[in-house]
Symmetry: D2
Subunit: 360 residues, 4 copies
């Protein structure tokens, strides 16, 4: 068992970590850190609204017993060296200063965007770009750190990159148009999306989201050049429009792909469905049975029906059709659970991979 700390434990993502680490076979969450205001309180009291006494707990599962009485630490009171691994669930601004201090001593897996775009930082998705793990060694060496920072991608990037991977491998991908219909939980809860703004409505804009997806997708799907020790972003072109819809959980993405070789929906479906047969996530504790499921019911995927498939760790694809603009092209709709594979539980899957690769 590895000893694990969590920085940012009472917010929406922090709560997901607390649930996902409950009875984890490899990771033992011994310390939870939160703001000064919460430090010294028991976890269960720290998530209680002081005025009303109401629990600010956002998961459907109740607060796990193992964490209820754990006392929240201040950041300064923990010694990073006491841990084998630290998860962070904090805002990008805070991550900018906190994460390097921790990574000096210990591996850090982060849900923040702060370091995603630095040249010695890979954006890892287990089974998609495992060779980028190599870059963590360079990061440690160059920065003189005992640990490293390994950030997750943006939750909208994850499902897109996963589904593009078998396309790249088998048919080549030249360009991608993607329109997202993103869930409310992607915007968090402080305050997140105000109900009056989204009821009976679509908001056709999510600040910075499109740029993130466009850059991250190319980086994740790029090759690792072992010579120069850097990631060479894939040459595929990506154009996105990201919107918010009145859906609680589960990002729907409409994708049009230009492939290099000719292909057809049946071949693509086959490659997607068998994609996880032989990849590295096989057997990891948090890995789903299938990384991608292709549903041939034309009304699927639907967020309300499909987001919980394999506890939100599977990307569900539907509406695979030949494209009518590209000479060689395919189009489809995907659904990815932004709070599970796209967030805390995806971070834990990454930790599991890095442990099997012995870099943690």
């Amino acid at each position: 068992m590895l000893n694990v700390a969590l920085i940012g434990s009472t917010g929406a993502v922090g709560q997901e970590f607390v649930v996902a680490l409950n009875r984890h076979p490899w990771f033992n969450l011994t310390h939870v850190v939160s703001s000064e205001r919460s430090a010294g309180k028991k976890y269960i009291d720290a998530i209680r609204d002081t005025q009303s006494g109401i629990l600010k707990w956002h998961n459907r599962e109740p607060v796990p017993g193992y964490i209820r009485d754990t006392v929240i630490s201040k950041l300064d009171d923990i010694n990073p060296k006491d841990f084998d691994l630290i998860f962070t669930a904090i805002e990008s601004d805070a991550a900018q200063t906190i994460e390097p201090k921790l990574a000096t001593h210990v591996p850090v897996i982060s849900t923040a965007a702060a370091f995603r775009y630095e040249s010695d930082v890979p954006i890892l998705i287990p089974g998609i770009n495992d060779e980028h793990v190599e870059l963590l060694n360079k990061q440690k060496e160059d920065r003189g750190w005992s640990g490293f920072i390994a950030p997750l991608p943006n939750c909208t990037t994850t499902g897109l990159a996963i589904t593009l991977k078998p396309l790249i491998t088998n048919f080549g991908v030249k360009s991608v148009f993607m329109t997202s219909m993103q869930a409310l939980s992607g915007a968090g809860r402080s305050p997140g999306v105000v109900a009056l703004d989204i009821l009976d409505n679509v908001i056709p804009y999510i600040p910075k989201e499109e740029e993130k997806v466009q850059i991250e997708t190319k980086k994740i799907l790029g090759n690792y050049d072992y010579q120069s020790k850097q990631i060479v972003s894939d040459e595929l072109k990506v154009s996105c429009t990201c919107t918010r819809v009145p859906v609680s959980d589960g990002h729907t993405e409409v994708v049009f792909v230009e492939t290099s070789k000719n292909t057809d929906p049946e071949s693509v479906a086959k490659q997607m469905m068998h994609f996880s047969d032989n990849i590295s996530i096989k057997g990891l504790p948090s890995a789903p049975k299938d990384y991608i499921i292709v549903n041939d019911d034309p009304t699927r995927p639907q967020p309300r029906i499909d987001r919980e498939v394999n506890d939100g760790m599977t990307t569900v694809v539907g509406r695979l059709r030949k494209d009518s603009v590209f000479e060689n092209g395919i189009k489809y709709v995907l659904l990815t659970h932004n709070e599970k594979m796209g967030s805390a539980k995806g971070a834990i899957l990454l930790a599991e991979l890095l442990k099997t690769k012995k870099i943690i």
Copy 2:
């Protein structure tokens, strides 16, 4: 004043016609036709549920006084020759047999898809493809009719074709990717979309919709060859994915356009905003002040805020940006009111145009 009849007057679209023709300066709705079951009843009684006594009236405006006591006719009881113009708001199957019988005698403007794809039938949008009106003369001649059938486009096509028109004229258009997020009212009410299926959900499929939009867009934007007397569909390529979202009215469409010439968002915005300055709809009773409005607030257009602009006759465009895949490309989001410009009120605007062109 022209004498007008309406076939299919008690359904959702029929009710919109009844509202939109209230106090119309040119058209006098003298006869309303509905199914056998309703014939002989007053309009107000025909829309009343016989069991519960509840009015099945779907507009926010109350039932107009002028129509309340009008007695519903059977189709067989009216003589088409008594009218200058007939509007139809019936299902495609019924339209297939009914509309030709009427058109033998009188101009028919239809919201049904039944005849849209025949070679001697134009799909008209006032101000967009007025030269296609010419084909109505050929239709009359070839079929030996005194009237003609002039169908509206599908409600999802309308906003797309309107916004593409100034792009074609000024920059040329080679290909278009469009993802729609369509409103519930587009599916009607008998029963339309069931609440349980769409609450907290997106349905990524609308039967036949994508094919309709792809074919209609090319036909509408095609040229009329006066020599051969036929429409030559535009060569632009279109690829669509059509989805249903929990929004009552107003279709949102996310559009990626490859242009022939290089352009930029400012030039496109200018062409769109000035598009209606000199087109044929100017001065028509149902025409909006602007056919297209470009909003530079990045959070717009939003269905709840923008669908009622100019009583739903304006297409609102936002998020105009340079595209990141196409060498010459632009992307934007549009909002079009599927029940106003995209349906009954759009049909009346078309009738107004045809009257000024003296073909009615």
Copy 3:
């Protein structure tokens, strides 16, 4: 193991039965009956839309393997005597004629309202009015049947009657005002509530619902007079207003109760929380750990958070307060899962009780 048939197996409630009977320790579902149209097909094909090939399956859990290939029977093709028990999930009109024919031979547990209000038919809720089971014997005798008809209450009655029971026992109840905010699934799916009618809306009327709740509550909470062999309805007075809200599952009910004796929220909470300690449902396979949970967080119960508690078999109570009108009164809010305890799974719980009572 008892052999069980299900009449009405492909509709929304029928599908719930199919899920809830999967791997049931006591009941073996061997025959499923549906309309002529479905008879002869495999279950999995019978729930498939013939035109589109789409599965019309409404549960989040997939179609259980055990039932996929079971061939649907016609009603006339099964022999009631082959079964120990028959569940029905059909409309009231059909139940009126079908259920007596079956009950002549075998016990019938019904979700329909058809026989609820007959004097020799109890409306049973396990643990609430078990002594009414006695009336089934009289029903058998008087009607000369080998079986009987035992209908469930309306799904809105269930939670109200369960929470009133400990109040009656401990404090006496004189009158009740109840306002319901009912879920969409209570209206079924054919077509049920149309999305356009309920989005951003409340519909303050559900036909016949208020009368049902008012009558059923009194009957369920009445005493069984062993002498005259009839149920004497409780003398409490009930007044309801039933509304529909945009919630998928889970009926919320706001209750104001006048008690006979003085009481306070703490005493009521205690009686409710310990209510199921010693009642007959203890140990039944479908029984929840607690029949009633009282939550002292003032923002609870909420349908989205609380409806799945104990797989929907628990009534969650909150906002217990002293009433400000009644001299002796209490008010609270309850949440009951209309598709679980209020429907198929509640029917199975009843069957389990009747088996332990050896009347099945």
Copy 4:
């Protein structure tokens, strides 16, 4: 024309005032006050998000031209004596200190709760308790003010008090049970209700709301004792449960009323419908044609259909039925627009009344 200032002009309620005072025939809004941060800016710039440049404007009508360039004042920079009347749209805490300072010099009409429960402060609804206006004179005298503070009731109280008034007058009212289903806009926008908390949900609690409604209703419907110069609260008893539902605008309230005399739905309907025939609001610029409308369609009132009746100034009543618990009782459902009659526009109606009574 009276010169008017508005304190708290950029928030949700402030924006409503700005719209409702546009082209008002009697009131000329010359000065708008807001926080230090906004002071010195033009109104149009003060409501613009400084980071994104997005207008934070919540009305469907665009920002009225008359106010766009008005420069926001600091509170300290205006001289209360320059105005005939001041409207406030601020939080209760701020109102506590600001309103008395203003009222020393000038009449203040307030949407805040701060002074509602003081013995020399009436809670006025035009046409309901006009004799309470008299208390404003005592307030001025006792406090030695040139002006006074006249607060509106809570938006949930308004519709209830209006509909109870004709019941009290004609039949007497002994007790009332009310369950509200309140709209999102009642909670404001900073941040108001978070979308994730209310989608597919009901929240059965609104802090302090029930106490407010219970106390205010009795005070509003009380008599003014000219001798002792105080309001004697009505003796009717009120018990409420207030809930939040996923509806944008319009509070629905389910009401059970015990009357002193026997009555029936027809008599009540008649009294309600004719209630505004002879009351003081007749002819005021903001008064609706009818203060109460009774709809006999059992599916009404519905917020989406009925909230805009008479621009939200009419309370719509439906489902009038005899009650089944009370010996003399009636039950009904009402709908009141919380942002129109229940807020800014209601405040302006009150100002109009006070002007005709020459106390302004």
